[in-house]
Amino acid sequence: MRKALFLILLAAPALAADRVVVGSKNFEESRLLGEIFAQLLESRTDLEVERRLGLAGTQVCFEALKTGAIDVYPEYTGTGLVSILNEPAQGGPAQTLNRVRSEFLNRWDLWWLAPLGFENSFEVAVPRELAERERLKTISDLARISKRLRGGFGHEFVGREDGLLGLRRVYGLDFASIQPLQHALKYQAAGARDVDAIDVYTTDALLITHNLIVLEDDRGFFPPYEAAALVRGGAPPEVGATLSLLAGSIDEETMRSFNLRLQEGKEEEAVVARDALRSMGLIKGQERETRATSAPTLTHYLWDERRALLRRTLEHLSISALALLAGIVVAVPLGLWLERHRGGAEATIRLLGMTQTIPSLALLAFFIPFLGVGTVPAVVALWIYSLFPIVRNTYSGVRDADPRAVEAATALGMTPGQILREIRLPLAAPVLMAGIRTAAVLTVGTATLAAFIGAGGLGEPIVTGLQLANAPMILSGAIPAAILALLVDGLLGWVERALRPAGLGSR
């Protein structure tokens, strides 16, 4: 089953030789670097470039790279050392780079290209007003009073050894409360004094705008975080050669100005990336295109994005349809089998019911180590969700199909097979179809989350929009997804009524 799915799905993504898939994490800078990689590859090579930007965090990106679902993404040396290799921070930038280079190469055939020229370390920032009142200069100062403060940190930072976990161990940093926040929202929260301390990046532009002070890492806890492209050994050779052109070409000041354009100017990463490459002289082009920096209205946005919208809708539908079809193929026979072997039926159905209680994101993430990222794990996860409603309704529909008619048919000499085909299944059809309908709506709805693991679909603008705090972008995914769910529901409702056998009245 899984193998078959693989074969169908792998026909499409990453592995074809003349393609390169560029990934990124889910915050502005990583997305921008990914976009810069992609544009440079587009202009300097003949490779077909596919973007999988905004994958949910380091683990997803790294697994995706290992499994070949993506070929390259921007990573930071310190993250590689602490989060991926699970080693403590020690030594300077060069030592850190050497360490990750040799380990990644030996263990996974992954290549760190020469660093891009800037470091983007984690840092801890507090509102200026709080720092002045409490005389906070270092993280040690903060640890003194942190027990009565509220922390607001990125989801990933909270769980990382080179994040809050390590800070707690090294500095004894404990907060009265900790609120996990999207990166783009942290600054607003701190600016509004909803939280008292946040994690920031060296290159963030919003520090100034929101009047925040960076505290000194007085115990040298954070490792050096040099940004670099991390490339899969199996990627086309042009990828490494081309992206090496970027070595040392972006300093902290430059990166901060790019981030400012993204964060404050709400400019598109494609535009900023193009400008960046031009200013480095890596691509030729005319004068910088000035774009309206005010957020476009939703209608304009939808119109501008209509092609992407269509593609995403089709992606969304094909992921959902594949999962649902696989669900039907497995769940209907299983339901029928359980009806014949009623002993274990209730227990089996209850067990399947438990799959519905697994949070969707957890289930999606669960498959990454085995199936990588992209369409395959998304379809498998959605398939699992689709099983329960179909099995349950097949089982109960067939079991409860007019017992008196079934008994009379038996007594008059119909075989069990004839009774199943000619009586029970037709009578159960509407119930069975209702199960499929429930599963379909569930699948179409949950498929939006598939974007978190790079499967595309209508969740893509939702996830990206959340990362960029861009409401029209979020809605451009959310509204079509809702409409799609309603359409699927309506269509299958119609099928359900059409399948109701004649003679049963219109219950």
Binding site: D402, R404, A405, A409, A411, L412, G413, G503, L504
Partner: protein, 241 residues
């Protein structure tokens, strides 16, 4: 040779309840036998032995002189008519398809089946034109029982088993169907076993009556015999009720 025969039959269900506690019975060809008793007396279980809807725990059951345990249950059932309490019609099949059930299973050719359906509907007092294309839900309770009867008779089985066939009908319809039943009994000459909890019905319709209680036959005999010489206080009480 008896059309139907049960010898020392015991039926115990897996949960331990004894439905039949040693029953012997012979039904000669052409006889109409009524099994009378309260619910739980074992009368339906006894009836269902003959088409192997129930297999005995002990004892032997014969149909037409042959032990049913040696017969293929599917073939056996196709050769025996069956009418359950509420008709048991298949709800998404039209009346004609319901009546056609057994001839179709037996692989009769289409023309013969069509003619047979007409004939059967007329036999039970329904109009082929009006009623054949209807669905069971579009019929009255009495009409449904007539269809069930037509279905049971369609392949011309020598034996018909009827399980409370008139139990769910109102009094007037029941009388009307009793009349029809007696007529069919006379013209068709089949062996009929009728389960009922209504002694008056048994008196009216049957050649012989078996009164059952707790999985045993208390008395079996012609109606007059029961009326004149009840063999058991329970039979007497039943008659007086």
């Amino acid at each position: 040779m008896s059309a139907l025969e049960a010898k020392g039959v015991v039926k115990t269900y897996p949960d331990g309840t004894a439905a039949l506690a040693g029953v012997s019975l012979e039904v000669p060809p052409g006889e109409t036998l009524a099994l009378v008793g309260e619910s739980g007396s074992g009368k339906t279980t006894l009836l269902r032995l003959f088409n192997r809807m129930v297999d005995p725990s002990e004892g032997e059951v014969r149909v037409d002189g042959r032990p049913v345990s040696e017969l293929d249950p599917i073939a056996l059932r196709r050769g025996i008519g069956y009418v359950p309490q509420d008709g048991g019609l298949i709800p998404h099949w039209r009346v004609e398809r319901n009546v056609d059930l057994v001839p179709r299973l037996l692989g009769w050719d289409v023309d013969r089946r069509k003619a047979r359906v007409r004939e059967m509907l007329e036999l039970v007092g329904l109009s082929p034109e009006v009623h054949a294309p209807r669905y069971p839900a579009e019929l009255s309770g009495g009409q449904r029982q007539r269809v069930a009867l037509a279905r049971a008779l369609a392949a011309d089985p020598p034996v018909v088993l009827l399980d409370e066939p008139f139990g769910a009908l109102d009094a007037l319809t029941r009388l009307e169907l009793h009349r029809q039943f007696l007529e069919l009994r006379k013209t068709l000459g089949k062996t009929l076993v009728l389960v009922t909890h209504d002694l008056a019905e048994a008196f009216r319709l049957a050649d012989r009556i078996a009164v059952m209680r707790s999985g045993r036959i208390l008395q079996i005999g012609a109606p007059e015999e029961l009326a004149e010489r009840p063999a058991d206080p329970y039979v007497r009480a039943l008659l007086d009720a």
